[in-house]
């Protein structure tokens, strides 16, 4: 009896920080934001509750253009990340053995010891007009004058894929490692081609890992602020930037809060659609990560 009571107390104590964290830093602020997003300023320190903030979003084409653009680019960059990460994960999990495999994994990990800001600034040094890559292209005679690589959509995409690589790699490696090699060998023995093995054995087995990686990368990308702003420059137009602008430079917290909830709704909807398409259950997927 004593030990059970003891165990319960221990559990409560251990859970307390997490619950406090969840309540004080996630649930309460969201409630506050929800209330904020549902009111409108009518005069100095006067507010009435209204749906005006959400109406503005739908009436001003500018805002939903940016919203849709952010969603589409996030999806595309998630797919790119998957395409880049999958072969690497395969090499780490299946082709290399022991030390070589850990080494490659560490090589992928090392850049993430540096903060995202520094990594993004590194890209800026490489790609800016007076930077390394344009100078190299001129030297090789490929371009007559230095080309500006920054401030383009493709650059934003590159930055986003690079930033979120690791978060795709980890779940992919762990789900591929659990795939029994003998299944693949058996398939080869039975005369299956590489493509059909990939389609019927590897991808179904790795599906929870793929889905988990995609969800994490998609959410990180959608909510990314730094990379689109720094690499996209005058044409970045990321929705998070719009939220920041509303809150900080326009003092329009009501509009910012409404935008925040729209973004939350978007990411929830996209994750649900993704799970449905992949035929996965949310709980199973999250256990894999």
């Amino acid at each position: 009896m004593q030990t059970r009571w003891h165990a319960r107390l221990m559990l409560a104590l251990l859970l307390a920080p997490a619950l406090l964290w969840l309540g004080a830093l996630i649930i309460l602020p969201h409630l506050d934001l929800a209330l904020l997003s549902l009111r409108q300023r009518t005069g100095p320190q006067q507010y009435v509750s209204s749906l005006a903030q959400y109406r503005t979003f739908f009436h001003e084409p500018l805002y939903w253009h940016v919203f849709v653009r952010t969603a589409v680019m996030s999806v595309v960059s998630t797919l790119f990340t998957l395409l880049v990460a999958f072969p690497i994960a395969w090499i780490i999990a299946k082709i290399l053995q022991g030390r070589a495999s850990s080494l490659l994994f560490i090589v992928c990990l090392v850049p993430f010891w540096v903060s995202e800001t520094v990594r993004t600034l590194g890209w800026m040094i490489l790609l800016r007009e007076s930077g390394v890559l344009p100078a190299l292209l001129v030297k090789l005679g490929l371009t007559a004058v230095p080309v500006e690589f920054l401030y383009r959509d493709a650059t934003i995409m590159l930055g986003l894929v690079y930033t979120s690589m690791l978060f795709m790699l980890v779940p992919l490696v762990s789900s591929l490692e659990s795939l029994d090699n003998s299944l693949i060998e058996a398939a080869y023995d039975l005369g299956a081609s590489g493509a059909s093995i990939l389609r019927t054995i590897v991808i179904p087995h790795a599906a929870p890992g793929i889905t988990a990686g995609c969800i994490i990368v998609f959410m990180l990308t959608l909510g990314n602020y730094l990379t689109p702003t720094l690499l996209g420059g005058k044409n970045s137009e990321w929705f998070t930037e719009q939220i920041y602008t509303q809150f900080i430079t326009r003092f329009n917290w009501e509009q910012g809060a409404a935008f925040g909830f729209l973004l939350l709704g978007l990411s929830t909807a996209m994750v649900m659609i993704g799970l449905r398409l992949a035929g996965q259950r949310f709980g199973d997927v999250m256990r894999r990560t």
Partner: protein
């Protein structure tokens, strides 16, 4: 099993961390917390101030919008002294109540230049109470690499031969500057929301047409300085002393007062509503307005102090640069920002958003 154990360990560490964080919080009355712009509070002056008064200055770097937003979030707590621009005080004060009035009896007003004191008194008085005092001022104009480009007014930034080689800040001063360059006076329309909105739409259309010419919209000083130094940017809207700093490194780069007139900004001292060390703040204000300290600050920041009698103490090079750019007639033609009436920033915000999103 190992997974469970790691989780437990992490949970314990978080628990310990939160306990330590709570106990580490202690009050300190000998501390003056200032939120200000980059370079505005030179380390040298902070050290001398501590020596004389025993007060330690704690500095947070910011800009107008962030200062207001931070103070709004805490209802005016967290800092003992803020330094917003003079036109951005009554608006936020009316809406959010983030400042407390200045007690003029605690300030040595004789140390201030009367003209600047007047502007600030006019623009920061709300319900009969004054909310700010002048600190530093300067003007916005054009910085041009004269060897490779020519520009005499803001609209020249849109000339085809400068395509991709110019830069502006996507903020309200740029809207004002372009409005003046287009021959309009935005300040005269401050009270006529409809006409003002129409004017801003015109300015927005102009900026959108001009957008391919801008290499980037700069967000901070270093981004612009690097752009100009590397030659990626040949002409930009910038403040005077930034241009003079670049001029000392490369004589080809010059600050030019636009034909349509320079825009004068004036940053202030203001007391956050729930600041804890007003005595320290007043001591700092009186200290930094002493002519010899003010001259030191001017030398370090490069912007001009609102203090009197700093003339003989200033760096002759800076004085010469100022005299060359601003003969008396030009000083008289400076457009000073009037206090912003409510609602205008919303109009400007939408225009700025449209420019940002345009292709």
């Amino acid at each position: 099993m190992t997974k469970g154990r790691t989780l437990k360990r992490i949970a314990i560490w978080i628990w310990l961390g939160s306990v330590c964080a709570v106990s580490a919080h202690a009050a300190d009355s000998q501390k003056l917390r200032i939120i200000s712009w980059a370079d505005y509070v030179p380390a040298e002056v902070v050290a001398a101030f501590k020596k004389e008064t025993g007060i330690t200055v704690e500095l947070t770097l910011s800009n107008n919008e962030e200062m207001i937003s931070k103070l709004r979030a805490t209802h005016g707590a967290g800092y003992d002294l803020a330094q917003p621009s003079q036109d951005r005080i009554t608006g936020p004060q009316r809406d959010f109540g983030i400042y407390k009035p200045i007690d003029l009896s605690k300030v040595k007003l004789g140390q201030f230049q009367l003209g600047l004191l007047d502007i600030v008194r006019r623009n920061t008085t709300l319900n009969g109470q004054q909310y700010a005092l002048p600190y530093l001022w300067g003007t916005d104009g054009l910085v041009v690499n004269t060897k490779r480009a020519k520009a005499a007014d803001y609209l020249d930034l849109c000339k085809p031969d400068l395509a991709g080689k110019t830069s502006i800040r996507l903020r309200r001063p740029t809207l004002m500057a372009f409005a003046f360059a287009m021959g309009k006076d935005p300040f005269a329309l401050y009270s006529d929301t409809k006409a003002y909105s129409a004017l801003m739409d015109q300015v927005g259309a102009k900026l959108i047409a001009c957008k391919p010419n801008f290499k980037f919209f700069y967000d901070n000083k270093d981004q612009l300085l690097n752009g100009i130094r590397s030659g990626e940017v040949l002409a930009a809207m910038m403040w005077d002393t930034g241009g003079w700093t670049l001029n000392r490194e490369n004589p080809d780069i010059q600050f030019i007062v636009p034909k349509s007139g320079a825009l004068g900004w004036l940053d202030t001292y203001a007391l956050p509503a729930r600041g804890r060390n007003d005595a320290g703040a007043y001591a700092w204000i009186n200290y930094t307005m002493r002519p010899e300290i003010a001259a030191k600050i001017t030398k370090s920041v490069g912007s001009f102090s609102a203090a009197q009698n700093t003339g003989p103490l200033l760096d002759p090079k800076l004085k010469a640069q100022f005299a060359a750019a601003f003969p008396d007639s030009v000083v008289k033609a400076i457009h000073w920002y009037p206090s912003i009436p409510p609602g205008l920033e919303e109009i400007e915000g939408k225009v700025l958003d449209r420019v940002k999103a345009a292709n």
